[in-house]
Every structure is written in C-alpha cells, then in structure tokens.
Amino acid sequence: MIPASFDYHRPDSVAAAVALLSAHGDEARVVAGGHSLIPMMKLRMAVPEHLVDLRDIGELKGIEVEGRKVAIGAMTTQAEVIASEALADVCPILRETSLQIADPQIRNLGTLGGNVANGDPGNDMPALMQTLDARFRVTGPEGTREIAARDFYEAAFFTALAEDEILVSIHFTAPAAGHGYAYEKQKRKIGDYATAAAAVLLEMESGQCRHAVIGLTNLADTPLVATAAAEALIGSPVDGPAIAAAAAAAEAVTEPVSDGRGPSAFRTKVAGVMVRRAILRALDRAA
C-alpha cells in the first residue's frame, strides 16, 4: 500500500512548524511517530498534501520532573516514558500504561503527544491524562494556550486542537506519594487496542479511601472519567461492596461500540472487570 504523494517538511522549531500549518491549512498534517497517521495514509483515509515532520524539533522532547510537577514534551516516545526513572518514581502508572501500548518497535517511535492528540478512542494515554487531570500546552499562530485533558476530546478524532495548532507538552501534578495505581487493559493480543481498559488512582488514609480517580479507555467515542465510580470508593474502606458499587457505576457510563472486540454489552461487562481488578491492584500498592 503506497500513500498518495505529498511534500515533506522537516522544520526545526515549533514556530516554523506552526507557520507551515498556517500556510497550508487543512492540506497539511503534522506527523509525530507516524504509527497512526502513516497507516491512514496508506489506506488513503488521510491524504495530506504537506507532511510536517516534528522529529527535529528539540523543544518538543524531554521529561522534566520537579518535585511532583511533571512536564513531558509531546515528541517524547513511549520507550522514553518507560525508561524514565524520575517519572516512574513519582507517577509509575505512566510506565505501566506505556508498556501495554503496541509492541517494542512501535513504542520506539510512537510518541506520547501523538497518542493524546490523535483523538482515537482506542489510544490509552487520553484516559490516563484525564485521570491525572493533565493540561495540554498547544501553540498556534496566536500564541500558546493550555487545554485541560478533560476538555480536549469532543468526539472520535475530534479534539479542541485547532488545525493550525501543535501540541507542545503535557503537564500534570503527580498524585501524592504513596498513592496506589493501576492500568488494567483487556486486549485480544499484543498490539491491539483495548476491549476495555481502566486507570485507577487511589489514596488511602487510616484504612479509608481519601481520594480516587477512575478513567476508562475505548468505551465511548471519547475517553471517560467515571466520577460516580470514584465517589463510590471515597470514604469507604475499599471493601467488596464499595468495589462492586464502583464497577457498576463505571459500567453505567460506558457506551462502547460493537466491533471485532465484542458486542457492546460484553465490552461494558469487561469494563466492570477491568475497574474491579485495577482497584484491587491499586489498593494493594497504596501505602
């Protein structure tokens, strides 16, 4: 499969990349790791006339951890996320999630920014970013602004990112030290998107849940934050009834499509199972 012809651009700054997007409008697309866009180009479902490759833009790279404040450049690869000890020290759920994305070769090129900005409901990082209440810094011709991950996703492949804007970096405050965490993903095989997946962050104090957040992947046309599910845990000892209530509340907000991964009702049930397992594992890890 051969993509349609395009002009290739390799700018070395965000400003130059934004200028190219402004000049070429919807005929231009940025490419990060390329593992979502290039398959779409082969299928001619994406036919950009100008491809703007972000790989040479140094300011889009790197992971900074200061105390519990984390900033990750959009072009940071999944392999770099996995390799970062500083990141794993304050927020290990990122490594756990990245390790469940695709396979080693794809994680070497696939980026965090591409994963969050693409808007594909199958991507794992969007729900995790919502769970962490991350903010996305984006730059366009008018300058730089921040968009909350929880406001970013409008529908499948539709996001709050304007056509001439580029995702530059991702910012969040890591959960308190001693938090429990888990990303549970049911998939048919390595490399597949989730049949259902759940991110859980949990903070315990004297045997009671002080704080909880639950995010869901590939269970609607956008990532989901299951607020009622988290509320079912908060103030409880995270025992059987609380976990059952949380799983039921999470199932209630899902709207998965029926596809090769199973009928909608099945995927909703799997969502409940993923939430239950993720809560148990997070609880086990919580200090």
Partner: protein, 164 residues
C-alpha cells in the same frame, strides 16, 4: 512531490538514492538498495517482518518514510553477519535450534533479537517473549525461536566482544 536524494548509512556504508517522499523505508531498502532481507509481511505495522535497526532502535520499516531516515544509521539482516560471512551468534543459534520453518519472519526476528540482546544481554524467557512481541511467526509456535535467542544470549555473554 518529485524525487529527492536521500542519504543515509546502511550496514556501515554511506548510500544515496533518489525517492519520492512517500516511499516507505522498506520499499527504499528493497527496491532502491536491493536489500531484500527485510520482508514485507502485513504492511500495516503488525507483523515485524520488515524490522530494521534505525539509529540503535528496532523499528518497523513499513511505518517509516525513507526520507525520515535521512542521515540515519540503518542495519538490516544483511549487516548482521561478519563481512567475511561468519554468521552472528543469533544466526548460528537459529540454525542450530531450528528457530524457523518457512523463514519469512526470520530476518525481522533476528534483527529484533539483535537489538534486544544489546538492550538486555541476559534476558529471561519472558523478557524474550515480550521483547519479540512485535514479531509474528505463523509456523514455529515460537518455542525454538525463544530457545535460539536464549542460546545466542549465552554465547554472546561468554564472548562479550562478539555482541556487536
């Protein structure tokens, strides 16, 4: 959209060839450079038959445009044996342990394992299985592939200078 000259280092040699920006690295290697070791399997990034080493990392060359590899260093299966034809420990181990049947996945499998053993010279069985999870084999059931990689890891760690 016309052809552009792409220069890169492939298996230690500086090469230059003209290609359109839309030319995938796998097509560039096979058709422009006549390196037909890396195979085109699924053409969708799943099977790993096209795996090459790009700047010290395993990648699927059907998922990269050749022009993106401008200035890069690429190693294909053709660059893994010694210049005098002496097989790499992995190639020898795949032969000894019957790590292939039809052989279609083998170039990608060995090229991936070559990098895996540099990242982790002493992998457990599950490290190996996870490490080659981006490479599909439809014949062997992976048993002998894993055995071959284990044997190569042993051979390489007992003679560390042979790792490259």
């Amino acid at each position: 959209m016309s052809k552009q000259t792409i220069s890169l280092t492939v298996n230690g040699s500086q090469v230059e060839a003209a290609a359109e920006p839309r030319t995938l690295l796998i097509h560039f290697l096979r058709e422009q450079l006549s390196l037909t070791g890396p195979h085109i399997g699924c053409d969708t990034g799943h099977c790993g038959a096209c795996t090459v080493d790009l700047d010290g990392q395993s990648v699927k060359s059907c998922m990269v445009f050749a022009i993106q590899a401008e200035g890069a260093e690429v190693t294909t299966i053709e660059g893994i044996a010694q210049p005098d034809g002496t097989l790499h420990a992995l190639q020898e181990a795949f032969r000894q342990h019957h790590g292939l049947q039809c052989g279609y996945c083998t170039p990608g499998m060995i090229t991936r394992a070559y990098r895996l053993l540099q990242e982790n010279p002493d992998p457990s069985e599950s490290d190996i299985r996870y490490g080659i999870s981006g490479n599909l084999c439809r014949c062997t059931g992976y048993q002998n592939i894993v055995k071959a990689i284990q044997a190569a890891a042993q051979a390489l760690t007992s003679v560390p200078e042979a790792a490259e």
